[in-house]
Symmetry: C5
Subunit: 285 residues, 5 copies
């Protein structure tokens, strides 16, 4: 078991470094994310980027994972099945992203790892902490690595009357560093820590604005590995690449990126530059 | 398994084309839908249309499927068991249509496929996404094709303060093309995409007003097949047939229709014209 | 299985006609229903009426069914176990009647059929439709007939802003025929139809005021059998018997009656007159 | 099975009479109930009363039942495991007392019977009716007697706009006899009847103020046995003993009492007088 | 079984005394608790304190327990798996701390005991009482000791209109002794008693301000053992040590402490002084 989880961790994090292609946006944001680059609506196009860009994993929902099972297998890009998801058609300040597939489903579909989004701070976070914890327990027993999308969110985070000390620290950081509340080191580090406490192998978190602050995130999650979430497309390639450098400096294991790759005119070009930053100084596994 | 699902897909979509007779209105709208053509309240009358009109499937709830099991079998029209449903006796802006039967029940009743309505955008869409996903997983493992009635609905879709970008695009389309919000390409394509992401074989969606806009729906769901929902009876036969032509031009696999057939004076006449449009250029399977 | 369900259907509906004694009022209304005729609080008294009145079934909750199991068996009156129930101690406009016993429990207690109340139109109707549907599926697989108490109820039925077309038709009928909204043919027929769609063998519904309107109910539920619910005690025997005649004329299979029998001074006398109406023209099975 | 349940019923109701010592107050009211007689906080003290006072059962939660398992066994006082409970730390007009242990747990702990509180009239009574019913079904199949604490409670009971006829009768009784609403015969008898309908062997109910009115309660629950709940400590011993006489006159099987015994200076003295009233005219089993 | 639970109780309470190191704060409060002493974010640092400070147990969530399984085993400090938890990112007056791991998970991770927080008084306390009770039943059957974090909390505790007698006593104590409502002996003793009633082996509770009042807590929980919760760091070492002395005088079995140890400059120094107080007069096990 432990041998197997180690082997699969190495598969999606060769030499401890990860470069993951996120493609669950069709569910989370809908087809409007494909308007920038219409070809991006098609998994075959995306899979080609993943393969030629030497990504260490691709994140999919079960529908695409099933319909393109043989193409994914042929590409040799490890499949990361995203086990929960929600659409933006329903909007509520306190989000809940329900579990849609099981660890068993992931294994049936040939996945090398599973992912799950945790909105700690939402009034439904009890359900998500429970679902995530059960996934980790089951995945652990079956030797499958787990990636937590740790995104603190919800009304509590914006409630200035909140008694929470974490929130008070976050407010100071927000004002001082001109960050959104869910990008402050206090909040991001807390999300990452919850990932560790519940047993995630990797946590995917937002960028906190500087290498110094991101280091606190990495330290708070240690020994769980941290990857930065790509987020919305930046104006320039350089802006994005500079963030990647920052988090690597801070000790991150890499990134999980979608729109900043496949919404661009030349997805492969930026993929290669990202690869160079993450794996450049490493011998290839 | 895969062989079986392929075989059953071919049964309800010969040559990749579908012409499905919907008859779950007794549950969804009640007997008032039968007032236009009182004979339509009787399944034997409907089954005769399905058979002589060469429909590739008939949609029923379990009660009728069970009580007329041998007649359905004799008719050779493939049975599509609708696994959820709700009545219009209870009205709430955020609808929930609960699962009433299992994939196992469908197999016991001799069904060739199963259907399920997903109201993404409702505050209960977490439950429907979960139920639908579990149905797809189970159906996939048992070789049964799944059809998703993908109908985004709920208060969020009408909330102008909503932060969702999809909604902003939909609002522009609504104003420009004089469509209901749940008929805009942005919303319909999102519903269809959720069907793909969750693994549906076919998605049933509303018409979006033009072949161009419907093409975006078809492309967003690819490789899941798209059929147009018939909806309320149009004033003339031509109005309905022109929509059928539009969606076929846009790449749809066909239609799923009820009232536009069996509320008419001559259900068989329009059935034959629809059949000609969908299968006319095809060799029959 | 099918042989068994057929046999049991014949037992509670000899020759397709039903005369059922309802005795779940101790739960639904409490002991106040026994004040009119204090002996009626005792099952032995009731069972004697059922036997001598030649009823084709008696409706009980599990407590009485268990405590008088041998007396019921000796009486040869088929037991119909009522699987759900609620008391009037809790009052809410949107009612929910939870399932209290299983089909398995019914078989253990020697029941020939099971019953369940469905309040379609209540905001909890999703739960009741689900519970009822599961009961029907299980009962069907075990060869047990199912009777649905189909009573549309809830705030939606009284909400004049409701968008439902069924409600608009019901409002017209209400005004024209001086009926309560839940006695209008539109509403009663819808409830009956839901019983058919979900697979009930018999539906128990309210009287709609005339044989003509009740025929629409019977036709909407076909081939599910329809029995009229007895309701509160009418002023005279004749008033009640005239209703029985009306529904039989309309095609009903019979009635399910409680208070109109056992709250009267001479329960046996009226039972015999009801029996004559329902079975008079029939050869006895 | 039936032999076993009969044997156990005889154990807690020798000759059909019951004298039960209630000791679940540590959960329901907390340590403040022990302030009157501080020794009463200790089960060993209570068990000694139960034994020497010749009680026919002692009511405990699982923690005490487990920690004093051998002492309870040695005392020969039959254990009645209380399967649900709630603390007064949380106060809501509509109470819910969740099931905490199973019938199986009760058997593991050596219990001769199980108890459960049902707050009919609370908006959560659907859950309690369901839990209680499942307990009765399971206990019945395992030969374990069930005692229902039938305490109608909740906002509906105080809502003067309530349409329920039971409530109207209760209001008249309240005014006429100067009783709390949940002590009126209409309400208490309804609670008792629900116990019968669901299958309880014994129901524990409040005193209704007179032997005449309590007789209606006993008759409404027949053949389920009725015991009076002791309630808060009365000013004098005589006041309490007079109530005991009243309910025995009315046909009750006995009482279930806690504070009126172990909050008194001499618990054994009053126990003996109660014993004399209940069993005095009987030969001892 | 009983032999095993006895053996494990002795392991975490040698000679009936307990000195437990709490380290679930990363989940409950987040990384901000590590700001005082940044090394405290790392389990290896904490484990070293636990080992050298001769703690009789260390409290962890499953993530850390799994990632440091071999280090924990080598340290010989017994693992206490905390089975539920919540983060302060979500703030609600009525808290719910969901179960995240099972007793089975605890055994897989090599735990010697399990812990669970119960917020009696919260509107969700029904769920927590149920979860805790099931944990105790299962742990008991597998021979694993259970520690209850008994922390009454929620809106009801602050509602001056509350009818609860416990609350009235607590209010008097609050005013007289200048305590927070959840530190009053009435409230703390009630929480402890619930732990006993549900079957906890040890309850962890707040300090009540004096040895006299804490004795009532200890007596109310007897024979369940009581340990004091360390709470936020006191200004001086002496202040904290004086509390430890108080509770030991009152009959407590020891303490469970986190921040008052590992937020200090010299965690080992204070650990030794605590150890001396708790075990000084004992022969070492």
């Amino acid at each position: 078991m432990q041998a197997k989880v180690g082997e699969l961790r190495e598969k999606i994090m060769p030499g401890g470094r990860a470069m993951i292609l996120a493609y669950d946006q069709g569910f989370e944001h809908g087809p409007r994310d494909f308007l920038e680059n219409p070809e991006s609506r098609n998994l075959e196009y995306i899979l080609d980027i993943a393969k030629r860009g030497e990504f260490t994993g691709i994140v999919l929902h079960a529908g695409l994972a099933e319909k393109y099972q043989s193409e994914i297998q042929d590409s040799k890009v490890p499949l990361i099945l995203k086990l929960n998801g929600k659409s933006e058609l329903y909007t509520e300040e306190d989000p809940y992203s329900p579990q849609l597939y099981s660890v068993e489903d992931a294994l049936t579909l040939g996945a090398a790892a599973v992912g799950y989004t945790v909105y700690s701070g939402s009034k439904y976070d009890d359900q998500m902490h429970q679902e995530f914890s059960k996934i980790v327990r089951e995945a652990y027993s079956k030797g499958v690595p787990v990636i937590g999308w740790m995104y603190p969110r919800g009304k509590s985070l914006f409630d200035r009357k909140s008694a929470s000390k974490t929130f008070k620290i976050a407010l100071e950081q927000q004002e001082k560093n001109n960050l959104a509340i869910d990008e402050t080191p206090a909040i991001v580090a807390y999300g990452a820590r919850i990932g560790l406490e519940l047993g995630a192998d990797i946590v995917k978190v937002k960028y906190t604005g500087s290498p110094e602050s991101f280091q606190w995130v990495v330290q708070s999650a240690f020994p769980t590995k941290v990857v930065m979430s790509g987020g919305t497309m930046t104006k320039t390639d350089e802006e994005f690449l500079s963030r990647v450098e920052d988090v690597l400096t801070a000790g991150a294991a890499g990134i999980a990126v979608g729109r900043n790759v496949w919404q661009r005119k030349d997805p492969l070009a930026i993929s290669k530059r990202i690869h160079q930053l993450i794996f450049g100084s490493q011998k290839k596994a």
